[in-house]
Symmetry: C2
Subunit: 157 residues, 2 copies
């Protein structure tokens, strides 16, 4: 079983990548986890958002394998508590799929095609936050989920 | 008008404090904002959690002025969207109070006395997360709220 977080756009400030790297490291105790960054589509003033989303969709789809279990991180998705997210992870792991891919979209969100192809969606919060924050928040929650699954104490680091 | 975030416990890793400092700086464009860290009560194996919460409550109460508007960040509090949080901030600012104090408790949460004294509570997410993450998440949301209130674009930094 492998878990991947696929993100559109680079991490711009070192404190974000340092924090994410910390959880990426910790997660390796529990699962083969990787973070993949896709370059975002550079927006010119004339580029409309649907064109950008279309290009980003193409880049994302190239990274998805046919038998991946894909979950979009989307503010209209279902909300979990940390405990119910841990349960969801357990059921995904028992689904027989070899890889789970969580995706955080670009600045304009996902295209309609992405929503059609991948119906599973989850929200980290009802609040909107930056993509950098979403990555970090997700990695911390995934780590927390594995500490819950494995019954390990996790003392608010 | 002044806003303060009162936290129990120090920030342990530089990436957390660097990230929080970034938003603290950005917030100064909009409001007099300060972060105050209270030392947490060191727990020995024999110290029970209610004793720790009692000592932390005493430390917190020393920092609260009589006419502060106090809001506890608590996972059982009301959840906001970023837009409704911006509305709440606006109404707090119109309340005539000179200072709004948001409080993130220690590792064991708040004492009953804190809940009795301060009935306003908000949750950042249904998910539980570390205190470091809560601080960063809160600062980003407060910054986002002020960009919404002032109708400034905030391009997913």
């Amino acid at each position: 079983m492998e878990i991947q977080l696929l993100c559109v756009g680079k991490t711009d400030r070192s404190f974000w990548s340092d924090a994410v790297t910390e959880y990426e490291k910790r997660l390796q105790h529990y699962v083969k986890f990787s973070l993949v960054f896709l370059p975002d589509v550079k927006a010119h003033k004339k580029t409309n958002s649907s064109k950008i989303k279309k290009s980003e969709t193409e880049r994302i789809l190239q990274k998805i394998k046919k038998d991946d279990l894909v979950i979009l991180l989307d503010e209209n998705g279902i909300t979990h508590t940390s405990a119910s997210f841990a349960k969801a992870i357990t059921s995904y792991m028992n689904s027989g799929k070899r890889r789970i891919v969580f995706i955080i979209g670009g600045a304009y969100g996902f295209s309609d095609l992405m929503y059609q192809k991948f119906p599973l969606r989850m929200a980290l919060s009802k609040m909107t936050f930056s993509h950098q924050m979403a990555r970090l928040f997700f990695c911390e929650q995934l780590y927390r989920a594995f500490t819950i699954i494995n019954n390990h104490p996790y003392h608010n680091p």
